[in-house]
């Protein structure tokens, strides 16, 4: 059994039915495929759980956190829902767009950063919330953006 299948089998044992393990399995596959889900990721998940790759892909496409297209090495997500919006989220998003030279939904040319505008992240008391690889930064203002990007670029292994 492959290492992946072994890990999925362990996860599946926690549930009444192995199918419940599909979400953790997809997450694991995504982690092992540079943050997105190429066709062979679905082969792997399907094999490990006895499901068809097409079924796995249909499930994955329902959820925003599974990426069916390649993404950058870091994921920057700006909440633009109403609570952050009332306190300037649009300006924060535009600052990221300007500074990175991409629009929301795009990846920088060097493949370093994917920028996304996302729905409420559940941190509305500290607007604007910006999640970098799921770690929240609170109270982000447009003028903080240059610093954040500098920090992310600095953390790059080969920068």
């Amino acid at each position: 059994m492959s290492e992946f299948a072994e890990a999925v089998r362990k996860i599946a044992a926690q549930y009444p039915d192995t199918r419940s393990a599909i979400m953790p399995a997809i997450r694991l596959a995504q982690e092992q495929h540079a943050g997105w889900l190429p066709p062979d990721a679905f082969e792997q998940v399907g094999d490990a759980l006895g499901l068809t790759p097409a079924y796995c892909e249909a499930v994955a496409s329902f959820y925003d956190m599974y990426h069916l297209q390649p993404v950058g090495r870091q994921l920057v997500e700006v909440c633009t829902n109403i609570c952050c919006g009332l306190e300037g989220a649009q300006g924060v998003l535009e600052a990221f767009e300007q500074e990175l030279g991409v629009r929301a939904g795009e990846t920088t040319e060097d493949g370093a950063i994917t920028l996304r505008a996302v729905e409420c992240l559940g941190g509305c008391g500290w607007p604007t919330i910006v999640a970098v690889d799921n770690r929240y930064r609170q109270n982000v203002r447009a003028e903080d953006v240059t610093g954040i990007i500098g920090e992310l670029r600095g953390a790059e292994p080969h920068a």
Binding site: A58, M65, C83, L86, C120, W126
Partner: protein, 443 residues
């Protein structure tokens, strides 16, 4: 106002309650011993007498729901904690799990005991990675101390707990969509009945409760139902963690006694809108709640009073909009959210959310006439009550309420945007004429 004794956020600011030792030092897990001495029915009776109602949005009586779980089920019975928290404006469960994970675990054990449950899942939204890590660590500690696992504290009772992470889908907070998602499917809501208490996860009876609801259970066992029911007003008993956001000076979570005036929360605790501004409108219960006005600020913050005023207490998230904010972009952003999150199963929801976004875009671009407001109001009417779940209503109600209360502003926006567009067109046309004159060259 007398000093409130917080329940679910008690001691959370001066102790690191994520550590089991510290949680125990403030009385944590002590209620398990007491609950063990009680018959399951006695726990349910106590929950019933407390009138504790669900904190996830629908305010259903928790004790009643637990009493619906059949005692003689031939299928396994499950507890699912709803920690999907994705309603815009709501961030209370995040703080509860982050600061007080063991309280949730203790509440789950008590609920499981009451309803005869051996397996439980915490469905936490995927974005809450930090909180999921905290929960995992707390579960490991609790397991080590024998609070969960086989034969809890030497009793006959076994309880298994698994943290299940979502992956970004608001609809999975709807309880039946949550179950489908947990079963490894796309998160589509199911037709009810059957209700989950009878037929839930893998068709087994399933108790589904919000994080905050379960966090109240230990204090009710400790202090008794009467103590709990003495707090609050009418049928809205106990405390509530209110998430206050938007245009206020001190946004954040506040645990309040239900029934205090909304003004006390928005101005007293959250500091009101910035200096020099007034409140234009406020959402009393998350982005799905119809907006209320300044004149509603003195209402008691209860389930009943918010409903009577034409809105709802919902998830207990107050979003404040001050008088500097134009409403059309706000309504548009709201509609975009619901369009994005609609699972697409019902036509009125799928098409209605899309229609509403398009109409609001037309208004903003200067392509609309006042007739469009009429049509949009009708679209909202056609959504309400005509779908499998209330996601469609959750857009229709707030958007409808904004048009109703602020019709003048919407009409003005239509006119001004049209005028701006006309000016632009004239400028473009004039530019083109100039260009063609230039091209033709001097005669």
């Amino acid at each position: 106002m007398p000093e409130l004794q917080p329940i679910v956020l008690a001691s959370a600011d001066d102790h690191d309650l994520t550590k089991l030792e510290q949680f125990r030092a403030v009385g944590g897990y002590a209620q398990l011993e007491r609950a063990r001495q009680l018959e399951p029915q006695a726990i349910i009776d106590e929950l019933n007498a407390s009138s504790l109602r669900g904190r996830g949005g629908a305010f259903f009586a928790m004790g009643r729901k637990a009493s619906f779980i059949p005692k003689d089920s031939d299928k396994p019975v499950y507890l699912c904690v709803n920690a999907d928290e994705s309603e815009p404006g709501t961030f209370k469960d995040r703080e509860l799990m982050q600061k007080n994970p063991h309280l949730l675990i203790e509440g789950m054990i008590i609920a499981a005991w009451a309803a005869g449950i051996n397996r439980s899942f915490i469905y936490i939204r995927g974005e809450y990675q930090h909180q999921a890590d905290i929960l995992e660590a707390a579960l490991a500690e609790a397991r080590g101390e024998g609070y969960i696992g086989e034969r809890i504290l030497g009793s006959e009772h076994t309880l298994d707990m698994v943290v299940h992470r979502g992956a970004g889908a608001y609809i999975c907070g709807e309880e039946t969509a949550l179950l489908d998602s947990l079963e490894g499917k796309r998160g589509n809501p199911r037709l009810k009945p059957p209700f989950p208490a009878l037929q839930g996860l893998y068709k087994g009876p399933t108790l589904i409760n919000n994080v905050e609801t379960l966090c109240n259970a230990p204090a009710i066992i400790e202090n008794g139902a009467d103590w709990f029911a003495a707090m609050g007003e009418g049928n809205s008993t106990g405390t509530k963690v209110v998430s206050v956001s938007g245009n206020v000076q001190r946004p954040g979570n506040y645990e309040i006694e239900l029934g205090i005036p909304a003004r006390e929360i928005i101005y007293g605790l959250a500091g009101g809108p910035p200096e020099g501004h007034k409140i234009k409108c406020w959402f009393p219960g998350g982005s799905s709640a119809p907006v209320l006005l300044e004149e509603h600020l003195d209402l008691p913050y209860t389930f009943e009073a918010m409903a009577e005023a034409g809105s709802m207490l919902g998830s207990g998230a107050i979003i404040v909009v001050d008088d500097s904010q134009p409403l059309v972009p706000l309504a548009l952003r709201l509609a975009e959210f619901y369009r994005h999150e609609s699972c697409g199963k019902c036509v009125p929801c799928r098409e209605g959310t899309n229609w509403t976004v398009k109409s609001l875009e037309r208004i903003d671009n200067g392509d609309a006439t006042p007739m469009d407001l009429e049509i949009m109001a009708q679209v909202q009417q056609n959504i309400i009550g005509n779908c499998l779940c209330v996601l469609g209503d959750s857009m229709a109600m707030p958007v409808g309420s904004m048009i109703e209360h602020f019709r003048d502003e919407f009409e003005q926006h239509i006119e001004q945007a049209r005028a701006a567009r006309d000016r632009e067109e004239i400028a473009v046309r004039a530019g083109a004429e100039l260009a063609s004159v230039a091209e033709a060259g001097p005669a």
